[in-house]
């Protein structure tokens, strides 16, 4: 039989930088597998490279190559005053600023042994929960656009707007507010703002019903997400998955309940848990969390209405600053030269995407931290994310990616 040849000018690249060990390449070559490098500029990968070893259409192994948006937050924090680190630590997850600063501030409070006034606790909780709703909506939008559902992308992003508006009314800034400070919050919230926030929860809740019809219950979305990227309960625990993704695998663990901080022990809310551990339940758990957050916010507003306005900063701070009557420069005089006692102080917070760990190490004499360690939820569940890719199809990569809401700037810090 005659062999047919086509004179196509194709020659495989001879010298090419490969961001993987040579051994791995050879092993893939011997097993007749494909290597697909997704990212870091791919439209569906975010700022991370995922190295996929593929057999046919099935992912055999996935290796993450994170670090493209690493900003060395931990090192930067060592050269800043304690108070200056608050704006810095808002940056990892831009929508989730409330939770991000809350963890850091709580570690400082723990070091100084400050008791936060009740009113400030509730306000902080509202800010944190607004951030949680915003992040979950953001992630739902990203999931939708990964699935090619543009309406499902636009609606949550539009729904975020009232939340940002509420945050503006609380703090004066749309996103990076630096609102939560050691000892309390920066500004008080008046009754009109509280009423506005309450209305916002109802507005978003109503709009979410139509979002549910077009995206959450959409048959094509369910087809794409159900039974895809399954993490069993044992696997989820083994790989250290956190937050809603751990709860989607059937583990009932929430820092807000296990180690309550702020006023979480005085409000009633459920922890949504699912048993399937697939992409769809990971998404549904977060959708359910949004409605739980609404409930928390409403309860907090009811509590705040009963309280007297004004008491938002701990009295203990006066120990650092005697002349409280002079308002000018008060903030700077208290926090400008803050020195933490010698030791290590750790705070665990439930950020929107999972457990967030801050650990401040102080030498007891300088006004900057000796070392700050942040472990963000994205970094915690990266391993679980990669393991859930195993055995799925290449086209499912985007669906699983979206279902985890993986946010490289948060994981890379």
């Amino acid at each position: 039989m005659e062999e047919i040849t086509l004179d196509v000018p194709v020659s495989p690249p001879t010298e090419m930088f490969m961001p993987i060990p040579k051994k791995f390449l050879e092993r893939a070559y011997q097993n007749d597998d494909y290597l697909v490098l997704v990212g870091p500029q791919h439209p569906g990968s975010g700022h991370m490279r995922i190295i996929l070893r593929i057999k046919g259409d099935i992912i055999v192994e996935a290796i993450p190559d994170p670090g493209y948006v690493h900003r060395s937050m931990e090192k930067l924090a060592e050269n800043r005053l304690y108070i200056q680190n608050i704006p810095l630590f808002e940056r990892p997850a831009i929508m989730d600023t409330g939770n991000m600063t809350l963890g850091y501030v709580r570690a400082i409070e723990q070091a100084l042994d400050i008791e936060v006034p009740e009113r400030a606790k509730y306000i902080r909780m509202i800010v944190a929960e607004l951030g949680r709703i915003g992040t979950h909506l953001y992630d739902a939008g990203i999931l939708a656009v990964f699935l090619g559902h543009t309406t499902g992308f636009m609606w949550p992003f539009a729904l975020r707007e009232p939340i940002i508006e509420a945050l503006t009314k609380i703090s004066g800034t749309r996103i990076t507010a630096s609102y939560i400070i050691p000892g309390g919050v920066r500004r008080d919230v008046d009754l009109r703002t509280l009423e506005f926030i309450r209305k916002v929860t109802f507005v978003i809740e109503r709009r979410l019903k139509s979002f549910e019809r077009i995206f959450i219950k959409n048959p094509t979305v369910i087809t794409r997400l159900r039974d895809v990227g399954i993490l069993s309960k044992e696997e989820a625990i083994k790989y250290g998955v956190v937050g809603p993704f751990l709860r989607a695998s059937g583990v009932e663990y929430d820092v807000r309940v296990v180690e309550p901080y702020e006023a979480y022990d005085s409000v009633n809310f459920d922890i949504p848990v699912a048993d399937e551990g697939d992409s769809y339940s990971r998404f549904l758990v977060r959708v359910e969390e949004i409605s739980q957050s609404f409930s928390i916010i409403r309860q907090a507003i009811n509590e705040l209405r009963k309280m007297k306005e004004g008491n938002i900063l701990s009295d203990q701070l006066a120990e650092f600053e005697p002349s409280k009557s002079d308002v000018r420069g008060y903030f700077y005089r208290i926090f400008g030269d803050l020195i933490l006692p010698r030791g290590e102080f750790t705070a665990l917070t439930e950020a929107s995407r999972g457990s967030l760990l801050y650990s401040i190490i102080s030498d007891g004499e300088s006004n900057v931290p000796y070392r700050v360690r942040i472990v963000t939820p994205g970094w915690y569940y990266l391993k679980g994310f990669m393991e859930s890719l195993r055995g799925e199809r290449v086209a499912d990569l985007q669906a699983i990616y979206g279902s985890f809401g993986y946010f490289p700037p948060e994981a890379d810090r």
């Binding site: 196509v8 000018p9 194709v10 791919h42 439209p43 569906g44 259409d57 939708a144 656009v145 990964f146 699935l147 090619g148 559902h149 543009t150 309406t151 499902g152 636009m154 609606w155 539009a158 077009i214 995206f215 959409n218 094509t220 979305v221 087809t223 794409r224 199809r393 290449v394 086209a395 499912d396 990569l397 985007q398």
Partner: protein, 359 residues
């Protein structure tokens, strides 16, 4: 030379009572009269005006704008607005086309240069040829008893060109997109052809003019299953969501067309819309009674044209609506759907047709 004489055209002119005096006047003038007679000669009118080039261009401009506008309205946005603000940015596709025209066409080193540049232009042959088979009343390009099989056969050629485009692009994403296109092509082609065959059985002819005449009851009522299968096949063939699999931009960055730029991208981008137009025309002829409708006396021969146009546009609007309500399903799910569900339904439609023929 009898073929080129004016009287040959005069026997077969499109009659429009609304502007008949103007036409009569123009026909008196020596050279212009000849050109007018040529343009109004029915086969050429079909080719140039309806359903041919001019309408195709208008439909392209309209449907791209309309799809963007509709999607935007559903998504709480405004859509194209800035260009021609008083009419809601309706000439946005034209502006985009101009931008494409003046952009550089980049041909990358690994591409197969001749084919890479030829295929986006060559693909217009299978896209435009079916148009001459489709009748609007008495206006038709080519009268033949085999119009329907020919049109379907030519439409089936389009994916071959898309595959060739992907092959000539010689890039990873284009390669995956091409393979996906090929898979989808096989998946929808068989149910599509079976549903067409069942309609041929029902009407007892493959001549589209006769098919239109026989539809006292529209085909969609005679055999709704075939209409459904045809519609889904249309969605698959034009890569609309939820079957936007060959071009999935989040997965393979526009698939076979990833390497194109400038006017070449403009050309390949419109292929799906042109295919959609051709298939929507075929759908309205087969299932919605084509140019049937009450006669608008003042438009004369153009009356069926208007009806066919309206029906086609309704189908196309329905197709553009899908984009804002569905997510993209996976290739294997789409294949499973078409090889099991669609296949069964198309066989059912064939069964219905057989029963109708026998009874």
């Amino acid at each position: 030379m009898e073929m080129l004489s004016m009287s040959y055209f005069m026997n077969n002119l499109v009659e429009i009572p609304l502007i008949q005096p103007a036409i009569d006047y123009l026909l008196q003038i020596p050279v212009i009269g000849y050109i007018v007679a040529l343009l109004l000669w029915k086969p050429l009118f079909a080719l140039i005006f309806f359903p041919g080039l001019v309408t195709l261009l208008i439909v392209l401009l309209f449907i791209i704008w309309f799809e963007r506008k509709l999607t935007a309205r559903i998504q709480w946005r405004r859509g194209p607005l800035e260009i021609a603000r008083p009419v809601g940015g309706i000439i946005q596709p034209l502006a985009d086309g101009m931008r494409y025209f003046f952009q550089e066409v980049i041909v990358h080193r690994d591409a197969h240069r001749p084919y890479f540049l030829q295929f986006p232009i060559l693909i217009f042959i299978p896209v435009l040829l079916p148009l001459v088979m489709i009748p609007a009343g008495t206006i038709v390009g080519i009268k033949t008893p085999y119009a329907l099989p020919i049109a379907v056969a030519i439409i089936s050629l389009i994916p071959v060109f898309v595959v060739a485009i992907g092959w000539a692009s010689n890039s990873r994403f284009a390669y995956i997109g091409t393979v996906r296109e090929a898979f989808m092509y096989f998946a929808y082609e068989v149910p599509f052809i079976i549903s067409v065959i069942s309609m041929i059985l029902i009407y007892g002819t493959a001549d589209l003019i006769e098919i239109v005449n026989k539809q006292a009851i529209p085909g969609i009522i005679l055999n709704p299953v075939a209409a459904f299968v045809f519609f889904i096949a249309m969605v698959m063939a034009t890569s609309r969501l939820p079957f936007e699999i060959p071009e999935a931009d989040q997965e393979i960055a526009f698939g076979p067309f990833v390497e194109y730029s400038g006017i070449m991208f403009g050309l390949v981008m419109t292929i799906a819309y042109e295919k959609m137009y051709v298939m929507a025309l075929l759908f309205s002829v087969l299932f919605l009674g084509g140019g049937n409708g009450f006669n608008i006396a003042i438009l004369g021969d153009l009356s069926p044209t208007v009806w066919l146009f309206i029906k086609t546009m309704v189908i196309m609007v329905a197709l553009s609506f899908l984009r804002s309500i569905y997510a993209r399903i996976r290739l294997d799910q789409a294949l499973k759907f078409s090889w099991s569900m669609m296949m069964k339904l198309s066989l059912l439609s064939l069964l219905i047709a057989c029963i109708m023929v026998v009874v």
